[in-house]
């Protein structure tokens, strides 16, 4: 184990409407096998012992599966490692003497709560607008009663990998949420269980995405590069396709009084 001496430039913002600024913090003797969040914990312990305000940041499982950790590290959501969340990023990826910029995910739809913690409930609103399958409660259907092609099951599983962290929005030059929305809608739109509500889901989620103030996708593909779960922009292509079909079908749904 070796120890790193780092200079952190951390975004400090006391509340949503307060002006923020970068604070220089010397992080000395950081073990290189600490995770990035453990490094933040060490820094916070020292701040607390000095009587200073610790840095607020989001975290939960620290196993790379909950989507709670965020942070933009040197301009990249979740830092420099591909398909890796901040909690799974280790300090051995940095060199002693490095200066590291740590900022919150920045988007109008992700307002800063404090320092590096942002409010991502806009994603919950999009999910509420259609990111579900309405099921009859009771016993599960018989195994193999609903055949699903292997390719479809695999693809839906790929989309289901999305942990809803918001790195796609943070990385997008337009702060667009298309990768998240397309993965969530695409997962269900691919499966037979999702078909009855496909039109309603697609139109509802896109409408909510727009209402939440996210930007428009202009095919930069920064989202795919930043995604810790390697969600493909193929899902965006599929959402565009599903939206076009749904918008055409919706007219019939309105005229016919139901039946997606």
């Amino acid at each position: 184990m070796s120890l790193l001496n780092l200079t952190l430039k951390v975004w400090r913002q006391s509340s949503a409407n307060a002006a923020g600024r970068f604070q220089d913090i010397e992080a000395r003797d950081i073990p290189d096998h600490a995770s990035f969040l453990e490094m933040m914990d060490i820094v916070n312990e020292r701040l607390i012992s000095k009587g200073e305000e610790p840095i607020a940041f989001d975290h939960d499982c620290r196993e790379g599966i909950c989507g709670m950790c965020s942070m933009v590290i040197n301009g990249r959501p979740h830092g420099p490692e591909k398909t890796t969340t901040t909690c799974q990023l280790h300090m051995r990826k940095f060199k002693s003497g490095d200066t590291i910029y740590v900022e919150p995910f920045r988007a109008k739809s992700f307002p800063v709560i404090k320092d590096l913690a942002v409010d991502r409930s806009s994603f919950d609103e999009i999910q509420r607008a259609g990111g579900f399958v309405t099921v009859r409660t009771g016993s599960a259907i018989d195994a193999n009663a609903l055949p699903i092609g292997k390719e479809i099951a695999d693809a839906a599983m790929d989309a289901a990998e999305c942990i809803g962290c918001g790195a796609c929005v943070a990385a997008c030059p337009n702060a667009s949420a298309m990768l998240f929305v397309s993965a969530k809608a695409g997962q269900l739109n691919s499966l037979p269980q999702g078909q009855p509500e496909k039109t309603r889901r697609t139109l509802g989620m896109v409408r909510e995405m727009d209402a939440q103030g996210f930007g428009n996708c202009s095919n930069h593909y920064e989202c795919e590069a930043a995604c810790p779960k390697d969600i493909s922009v193929d899902w965006i292509s599929k959402l565009n396709r599903d939206y076009l079909c749904s918008a055409v079908v919706e007219k019939e749904a309105v005229a016919g009084g139901g039946g997606d």
Binding site: Y101, V206, C217, S237, L239, V254
Partner: protein, 234 residues
Amino acid sequence: MTAVATSISRFYDSSIGKKILIALTGIVLVGFVIGHMIGNLLIFAGRDAINEYGHFLHTVGHGMGVWVARVVIFGSIILHVILTVQITKKNRASREQRYGVTHKDASSAASRTMILSGLTLLAFFIYHILHFTARAFNDYDTYKTMLHGEQVHDVYKMVIAGFSWAPASIFYIIAMVLLCTHLSHGVASMFQTLGLSNSKTRPLFQAIAGGFAAIILIGNCSIPIAIWLCGYGR
């Protein structure tokens, strides 16, 4: 509003609906760019070839053909510009506080400058229309020649005169470089926006867009370069 009008207005109001309209108007403009380049290259086939082509454009469909084309092209440009300005404004508003440090992993310079290349092309388009179509602030309207016993507009002489003036050639070449970057991102984006690309076909569409943009750049720039720098036709 009727159900159909509601559906159309919802489609237009949505982010994806706008982008689909941008892609569709983009297809019209790509068609125009191809036809325009091929037609203009007739300048290298001599005076009669391009004059005959110009005469054909103005007489096809009893003279209405050119107006149909103009309405479709102007309409597409107006819609394309309004929509892209609208989405760009929303994109800027979607991130009020900028990052202190940014790092680009996937986006290209072309993709990040679409609105700049696009609006510069709009300015060029207006100038180009005034220069060669409306023939404002010049005497090109007086250029006449005989073709098959008929007096027609001398397109050949007009183009040679137009590009003999260095500033016109320079602005044209700058605009074509921007058109090249605009097409290299825009043509590939069309397939994605219309939901026609996936990870297998995306590299192919990007290569097609790059190749197409390069062909348009070379083809169009060959004309002012030949006239202004090499003295073709002067």
